[in-house]
């Protein structure tokens, strides 16, 4: 009995030791290696969390080695390759700019097989420490558990900034959206909207929190899509009358349409809203109260009449998705021309929805007097039968990243939507073919050093949005993206929510849900419309 026990222990030790080393003799595998997620030929930041994955080929033993030019290789057993964080960091830190090799060995039928090496590249530039995104189910009108999460990109820590269930009472739900940060949250300035229960906009600024009501008479709606000015306490918003309809057969399933939209500027310190006047020389169209069109004078600063007041609903221009240039001297946004043909605007816009094409324009902004200059069309997507949205200028001001699809503005529902990159000096743009997929690519953001792009994609299953990160090198070339790494490699497969509005931040969000909840459930200050 004692001998038997010793023998067993000895065998176990041998087995353990045997599996601690790469097999000395093995054949080349002839079948295809199936791993999920697939990380290969991508550039990865040296400070990224481990790229855990799962091997789905059938085998009795699995061994994975991860190696680079310098430092000790990592050896991981098992079909789920979960890499030790400390070892991973050490390996990547000491191999910036080098290749990272994954060698996988499977034991099948008593023999070891080696699969072709999977290579990735370790970039010399780091990625920002965090991203903030929303989790939301795709395709619905009801809402229940929506969360705003902060995820560390250097490990797998997730902090739940807000959970809408905190205020969702049975059928009285709450929606939370449009989290937005000034300057990558360096000063801790951010904002979020809350719809439904305790609705309003919460702004965190200078370590204070306040809730404001931006639904002001004369505006199309309360504030919607935000963009913080990089240096001033100003937020450009669009105001949108948004509707949602459903495709009876088209697999894109949903269409989100603006019947009306305009732009406003919100002064955080003064709690004031000013409208952003229509482009000079363009007719303002018909207002609800005034049935005549009027053209702005050449000098917008001299405007004092009705033309300068308020936002005209149904003025024929749809303006949305504002975004400031990094220096704060320009405002980019998307604009589309829409001519109402029938009396009922909702039905009319549904009929015309495939004809609504957005261009990306830019207006210079005078930071001293806060006035806007003439419109400069940057991307004339409509001239090629396309629609461009989500303008995002790189931190160095050289490039413009945007989404372009066949029509409309809510491109997350358009399989035709791809990411495009414009060189702002030459004004030429191209499809980022290495980044895009046959399915949706949309909502994107630049890292603070301009070397990384994060974007939403539905390439995995066509319905659930996942986050992908791509390296953008100093020569202006975007490389193959990789999916946001997860501790459990199957996490995204088992998750029935979409990632929404990924934003890089360099400083974590410092508020906690209790403080936030107190602000949300408090009284909202009404913003004042000053023009």
């Amino acid at each position: 009995m004692r001998t038997f026990n010793l023998t067993c222990i000895f065998c176990l030790i041998i087995l353990f030791i045997a599996c601690k080393h790469v097999p000395e003799t093995c054949s080349d595998a002839t079948d295809t290696l199936n791993v999920y997620p697939e990380y290969s030929e991508a550039y990865i930041p040296y400070n990224i969390a481990p790229l855990n994955f799962i091997i789905t080929n059938k085998a009795s033993f699995y061994l994975t080695t991860i190696s680079s030019k310098n430092g000790k290789s990592l050896l991981i057993k098992g079909k789920e390759v979960r890499i030790n964080l400390h070892d991973w960091k050490k390996l990547l830190e000491s191999n910036k700019g080098e290749a990272l090799c994954f060698d996988i060995y499977l034991k099948q039928g008593g023999r070891w097989y080696k699969y072709p090496t999977i290579k990735n590249h370790i970039a010399v530039e780091p990625i920002d420490g965090y991203i903030v995104y929303r989790w939301i189910q795709p395709l619905y009108t009801t809402y229940e558990d929506i969360t705003i999460n902060q995820r560390s990109l250097e490990n797998f820590d997730v902090k739940r900034i807000y959970d809408s269930r905190l205020l969702t009472v049975e059928r009285s739900g709450q929606c939370v959206n449009c989290h937005s940060f000034q300057d990558y949250n360096r000063q801790g300035n951010m904002q979020m909207h809350f719809r439904g229960e305790s609705g309003g906009t919460v702004i965190l600024s200078d370590n204070k929190q306040k809730k404001i009501n931006t639904k002001v008479e004369g505006l199309v709606s309360g504030a919607v899509y935000p963009s913080w000015h990089p240096t001033q306490h100003l937020i450009a918003y669009s105001v949108n009358d948004i509707g949602q309809d459903f495709h009876t057969k088209d697999l894109q399933k949903t269409e989100v349409l603006d019947t009306r939209s305009d732009l406003i500027l919100y002064d955080v310190d003064k709690n004031e809203i000013t409208t952003i006047e229509a482009p000079r020389g363009k007719p303002r169209g018909i207002s609800d109260s005034k049935k005549e069109s009027c053209v702005l004078p050449a000098n917008p600063a001299a405007s004092s009449g009705e033309c300068a007041r308020g936002i005209q609903a149904g003025d024929g221009w749809l303006e949305t998705f504002p975004y400031w240039s990094p220096d704060g001297n320009s405002l980019y946004f998307s604009v589309a021309r829409y001519e109402q043909k029938y009396a009922f605007i909702d039905a009319d816009i549904v009929n015309q929805h495939e004809n609504i094409k957005y261009n990306i324009v830019r207006r210079p902004f005078n930071q001293a007097n806060r006035l806007f200059g003439a419109v400069d069309t940057i991307v004339s997507a409509s001239s090629i039968g396309k629609s461009a949205t989500f303008p995002r200028v790189s931190p160095d001001g050289k490039y413009l990243l945007f989404s372009m699809g066949d029509f409309g503005n809510f491109h997350i529902w358009h399989k035709s939507s791809d990411l495009y990159l414009m060189n702002l000096e030459t004004r030429t743009y191209k499809n980022l073919e290495t980044v895009n997929s046959p399915d949706v690519e949309s909502y994107h953001a630049w890292s603070s050093n301009g070397r990384w792009i994060i974007f939403s994609s539905r390439r995995d299953d066509g319905n659930y949005t996942r986050l992908y990160i791509a390296y953008f090198d100093k020569n202006g070339v975007a490389h193959k993206p990789f999916i946001l790494p997860q501790k459990n490699p199957l996490f995204d497969r088992q998750l029935f929510k979409s990632y929404n509005i990924p934003e890089f931040i360099v400083e974590p969000v410092h508020t906690n849900r209790h403080k936030l909840l107190k602000t949300i459930t408090g009284e909202a200050e009404n913003a004042r419309l000053v023009n």
Partner: protein, 632 residues
């Protein structure tokens, strides 16, 4: 009293006691028998299809993600275990036996916790009967309950309370009692939610009873501990752990939200349980003696039987719900003849869902054109205290059956958002994604079903179609649905109005394959839409040898009313024409009589015809409880 009499009495006393003991034993066994039979009657007897539905509206998956999601909230472990047990209702008799076993266990624990012996044993069944009522009273509410595993969550919660009491009673020393109370609340609250707080409340009562009766002032310490713990421990958890709970709901975690006026009656079993425990804790048990009155002796039996009567009286009884469940079950198996058989047995006014399911079965069997108006029509309101819409009950089922795959998918998603994932919406997710040839998406949902115990085989069969979409068209069920899916894409919305949307879609469609044309005509018949009827009718007449009876009836009537089209080339059955002439003659005779008096006469003569439907049935106009606002 002489010695002999005394001796006789002394010898007779144990015998009498023995007889009494035997009687009580027989009584208790009899009552146990009643209890078991009653539970089986209320479960497998009366509610087999309902119990099957409870598991379909729930989910238990053997994977880590599911476990982590389940335990995320307060009482998560109870929900997890509750869902685990609920899945066995897939086989109703098996689930019912497990349920019965747990209720017997509750009775056993009750007897232990409150030292119920002898005559008092029937009292031990009262909490179990009340728990049974928490299930039997639900009816349609099962569609909108937001607690997974609800049927067992209540049972597990009560078990948590009883175990707590049993262990508490074993602790005599004050400082151990304090530790125990804190430990119970700290461990119990995240597991049992409000039930653990109630348990803490009972410990408070025990200690106060001790202070009052035994003059044990030291018992105030655990009393204060219990009181503080009930208030503070949930707050501590809220502050540091549970990031998704509403503060004002902390004390009600795991309890259902029967908050609106007419729903409040559903609190009855919880009130019964609470009252029972409070009285049991405070009751001072005395020993039985000769002076014990008959009333006191028979009180336990009386209370047991009264509870039985209350459970029976307040249990949900509605034939329409049973009919709907039976029809859906038969429909999902493709047994359309069974659906019609069930419809023929309908005595009471049916709900719209029953009418829709009957019409669907007739359509699938190609009998609608001849027999649709032979079946009972109606618009009976859904019998429920809560606010429930037909869309919530059967929206995705009907959308799927009528080829509206995107809408089926959409309502699966709405339901998943509102009520979490369950086996029913997962199945329709898989079906709609499969038929839409969205392979990766269908796989995503199918993987979840593969990790369940009872839906694994269904998922594995479905995998064939997901992996090879070409095989879809080899299955008649799928082929039929794809025929109905052969329409042009349109952007629209249903405003949560299921039947209205389906009818309008079909009624206003133009052309299409024979199935779509037939459906269009049938919809126009139901909507009494003369203008839209004719194009479909003439197309049908041109392409078919025989025109169904109801189509002919409508054509003759509409021609007679409007004379707008030429039907001279249409082949009508002689019988239909003769019947129409009869109708005209009959109408002339009844022309001067009010509708209320002639309605029955018309029904007797023409009840199964489109003519009767056209003139006397207005159920589509009298919509009850289907509004355009899903959430008011």
């Amino acid at each position: 009293m002489n010695a002999q009499t005394k001796k006789h009495r002394t010898e007779a006393a144990p015998k009498a006691l023995k007889h009494t003991g035997k009687f009580i034993k027989i009584q208790n066994l009899t009552l146990l028998g009643f209890f078991v039979l009653f539970i089986l009657y209320q479960t497998i007897g009366q509610n087999a299809s309902f119990l099957w539905k409870t598991q379909e509206l729930d989910l238990f998956a053997f994977n880590q993600r599911y476990f982590l999601d389940a335990i995320e909230g307060i009482g998560g472990l109870s929900v997890y275990l509750g869902s685990f047990l609920t899945q066995f209702f897939y086989i109703p008799w098996l689930g019912s036996l497990i349920y019965l076993a747990l209720l017997l266990f509750v009775s056993y624990l009750t007897s232990k916790a409150f030292n119920l012996k002898g005559r008092a044993i029937p009292l031990a069944f009262i909490p179990s009967l009340a728990l049974l009522l928490t299930m039997c009273e639900l009816g349609y509410m099962i569609y909108i309950l937001k607690i997974n595993g609800y049927v067992y969550v209540t049972v597990l919660g009560v078990i948590g309370i009883l175990w707590g009491i049993i262990l508490f009673q074993k602790i005599k020393r004050i400082h151990f009692q304090v530790i125990y109370i804190l430990a119970y609340l700290l461990v119990g609250y995240p597991v049992f939610g409000a039930y653990a707080l109630f348990g803490g409340g009972l410990f408070l009562l025990y200690t106060l009873k001790s202070v009052a009766l035994e003059k044990n002032k030291a018992a105030l310490i655990p009393a204060v501990t219990a009181l503080s713990g009930i208030f503070l421990i949930p707050i501590v958890y809220y502050q540091f752990l549970y990031s998704q709970t509403i503060f004002k709901n902390l004390s009600f975690a795991l309890l259902p939200a029967f908050n609106t006026g007419s729903e409040k009656i559903l609190w009855l079993p919880f009130v019964l349980i609470a009252l029972f425990f409070i009285v049991a804790v405070l009751w001072k048990q005395g020993k039985e003696s000769k002076k014990t009155t008959f009333v006191r002796k028979s009180a336990p039996v009386f209370l047991f039987l009264s509870t039985l009567v209350i459970v029976a009286a307040f249990s949900y009884k509605d034939e329409n719900l049973k009919t709907e469940l039976a029809m859906q079950s038969a429909s999902e198996k493709g047994n359309w003849n069974e659906v019609l058989r069930i419809a023929q047995k309908q005595k009471d006014e049916p709900t719209r869902l029953i009418v829709m399911n009957t019409n669907l079965a007739l359509f699938k069997l190609n009998l609608a054109g001849d027999k649709m108006f032979n079946y009972k029509d109606g618009n009976k309101a859904i019998n429920t205290p809560g606010n429930i819409f037909p869309m919530q009950i059967a929206g995705k089922f009907f959308y799927y059956q009528y080829g509206k795959l995107n809408y089926c998918y959409r309502w699966c998603m709405e339901e998943m958002v509102e009520f979490k994932m369950n086996a029913n919406n997962l199945k329709y997710f898989v079906l709609s994604a499969t038929l839409n040839k969205e392979t990766a998406l269908a796989n995503k949902y199918n993987e979840v079903l593969k990790s369940t115990l009872f839906y694994k085989s269904w998922a594995e069969k479905q995998q064939v179609f997901i992996d090879d979409p070409e095989t879809i068209m080899t299955v008649p069920e799928y082929t039929d649905i794809m025929k109905l899916n052969a329409f042009n894409n349109v952007l629209d919305g249903d405003n949560s109005m299921l039947e209205t949307y389906l009818l309008n879609c079909s009624a206003y469609s133009r052309g299409g394959n024979p199935a779509l044309v037939t459906l269009s005509i049938l919809s126009n018949l139901q909507m009494k839409n003369i203008e839209r009827f004719w194009p479909g009718f003439f197309l049908y007449a041109r392409t078919h040898d025989r025109i169904p009876v109801h189509f002919q009836e409508a054509a003759l009537l509409y021609y007679y009313l409007e004379h707008k089209v030429d039907i001279s080339q249409v082949k009508f059955d002689k019988q239909v024409m003769d019947d129409f002439q009869l109708l005209l003659d009959f109408s002339k005779k009844q022309a001067n009589y009010p509708e209320e008096t002639t309605r029955k006469l018309y029904f007797n003569q023409f009840g199964g015809t489109f003519w009767y439907y056209y003139f006397f049935v207005n159920t589509l106009m009298e919509k009850k409880k289907e509004t355009s606002d899903y959430y008011n």
